[in-house]
């Protein structure tokens, strides 16, 4: 056995995998930092082909869509819905219509909705839960405007967010969706603090980087603004997808529409505070990405849709990297437990590992710098920066592995809501 282990550890295949493990995060982090810098520069310039709208685009959007519809799908959201509805009713737009879909709630969500007396509020009640995508699709059909802002029932959008997002629709006629910049409302636990770092270093920086390439991975469901006419044309949200927002974004890209990231449109949101609820959320995200790749990867390759290639390559290799990391570390742990010579990926960082932590910290500080223009608090989390790559990467890789494998074998069926520790988040 010892000889076999020695042969495996010296084989070229294992060596290549180790190089892949060590280099991929470094390369992708460098690309993300540099691309997000391009996005940042685009927004400083005057008239480039960037996606920065100006005041005149907002004025034009307000004339074109004097009424905006806000959709809030909710299931068992008694703890957060009141604050969300109060916030969306304060959003700045000439005229608002707010549609709340109470999707089979069995707590006091209905009473919370009825406690708000406002003529702009329209309530759709489902006796039996139909899922978020189906609820939103129904509300889109009932909306009186093509300019629609969709907010999760635990989000607290900034009152200028619609101004920031809607201007993009007037800037380019092929924009179908705009997503905002989520900020964490509360940080009660260590898990939530690590997620706050993730939202700046990975999610918003990566989204900026992707935007610079012309394709973002997802128009985040926490707060997205859509043109309903375009979304109807591509077939609405798919109720069979675990992450209907990611899949819709890819479908919009593939049909020639643009999806935009607008970091100045901020919204407060809540995140899982415990490890178990975080696992549930991330398993859904992982499964959603896998299902989206399964749905769209081959058609993109077959039809040679080049603009989607960077997104496809980055998504696919990231998933593969997570699998390799967990497999190689598992191999190392097994060899260690059996007292065999070291093989695979050691838990103890090597030189490339220290470099990767270094570039991850650079990315975290860069993300904090970018988001810090409108969110002064994010920089105060700097002491936790090394813990993000040292702990959080492993947890994320593990959850990607356990979520992607089963999702490839699952049959497509309507997706239900998922319970978490702070209520129901979908």
């Amino acid at each position: 056995v010892t000889e076999a282990v020695l042969t495996i550890s010296a084989s070229d295949f294992i060596v290549y995998l180790q190089w892949f493990l060590g280099l991929f995060p470094f390369v992708i982090a460098s690309l993300t930092i540099n691309s997000s810098r391009q996005f940042y520069l685009d927004r400083l310039r005057e008239e480039t082909q960037s996606d920065l709208p100006h005041l005149r685009h907002l004025e034009s959007a307000r004339k074109r869509w004097p009424v905006a519809t806000i959709i809030v799908p909710a299931r068992n959201e008694e703890l957060t819905l009141y604050k969300t509805l109060r916030s969306v009713l304060e959003i700045d737009w000439p005229k608002l219509e707010v549609i709340v879909v109470n999707d089979g709630s069995n707590d006091t969500t209905a009473q919370v909705i009825h406690s708000i007396k406002d003529s702009r509020l329209i309530v759709i009640t489902h006796q039996v839960a139909q899922g978020k995508a189906a609820s939103v699709n129904e509300a889109i059909d009932r909306a009186c405007s093509d300019l629609i802002l969709i907010c999760d029932a635990d989000s607290i959008p900034q009152n200028n967010s619609l101004n920031r997002m809607a201007a993009h629709f007037a800037r380019h006629d092929d924009v179908a969706a705009v997503t905002g910049n989520p900020r964490l409302s509360k940080l009660p636990t260590f898990m939530s603090k690590l997620q706050a770092i993730e939202f700046s270093s990975t999610i918003s920086t990566l989204r900026r980087g992707q935007a610079a390439w012309g394709r973002i991975n997802t128009v985040s469901g926490i707060m997205m603004c859509i043109r309903a006419d375009y979304v109807k044309r591509v077939g609405y949200f798919d109720p069979t997808q675990p992450t209907e927002d990611i899949e819709l974004t890819w479908r919009l890209h593939r049909n020639g529409y643009r999806a935009i990231y607008e970091p100045a449109a901020q919204t407060g949101m809540e995140v899982p505070v415990s490890f178990n609820s975080w696992m549930r959320q991330r398993r859904r995200w992982g499964a959603g990405l896998a299902k989206t790749l399964q749905t769209h990867a081959w058609p993109i390759i077959k039809k040679r849709e080049w603009p989607s290639f960077p997104l496809l390559i980055e998504g696919t290799i990231s998933v593969i990297w997570c699998h390799v990391l967990i497999a190689m570390t598992g191999l190392w742990l097994l060899a260690w437990a059996l007292g065999l010579p070291s093989v695979g990926n050691s838990l103890l960082m090597g030189r490339l590992g220290t470099m990767n932590v270094g570039i991850a910290i650079v990315q975290i500080f860069w993300g904090m710098h970018l988001d810090g223009h409108r969110d002064a608090n994010i920089k105060r989390l700097w002491p936790l920066a090394p813990l993000y790559p040292l702990i959080y990467w492993w947890m994320s890789a593990f959850v990607v592995v356990i979520s992607t494998i089963p999702s490839f074998f699952k049959r497509r069926s309507p997706i239900a809501w998922t319970k978490t520790s702070w209520g129901y988040y979908r």
Binding site: Q158, N160, V357, I378
Partner: protein
């Protein structure tokens, strides 16, 4: 100027203006309603307590110390092959060149294909 020449000029401008100290700033107003008061949203704005507790600082600072000292040990006090330093510098160099030239180039190609 032909469309091709215009494209080349704006591509060159994109590369030049990405260099430090050469950024061009927009003079257009941001899409903001001047008659409104913006409600600030920031990380932890509903927390009602300090973002970090003492134990967060403790574990955070400890992680900095562990990473820095382990990195110094690996790169300075243990046997290092010269190739690894050269390799590290080369990777940084390729990434830097790609960020200055490659990213605008691929972006332009991508846009052209999208327009077609």
């Amino acid at each position: 100027m032909s469309e091709d020449a215009q494209g080349k000029a704006s591509f060159g401008r994109e590369i030049r203006s990405a260099l430090p100290g050469t950024h061009e700033h927009s003079h257009f107003s941001e899409p903001e309603n001047p008659n409104m008061t913006v409600h600030e949203i920031a990380t932890g704005f509903r927390s009602g307590e300090p973002l970090l507790r003492k134990r967060d600082y403790f574990f955070g600072i400890l992680s900095w110390v562990v990473w820095v000292s382990w990195g110094i040990y690996l790169w300075w006090f243990s046997d290092t092959v010269l190739f690894e330093y050269i390799f590290g510098v080369l990777v940084w160099l390729v990434v830097f060149i790609f960020s200055v030239v490659g990213v605008p180039l691929v972006r332009r190609t991508s846009r052209n294909r999208m327009q077609k």
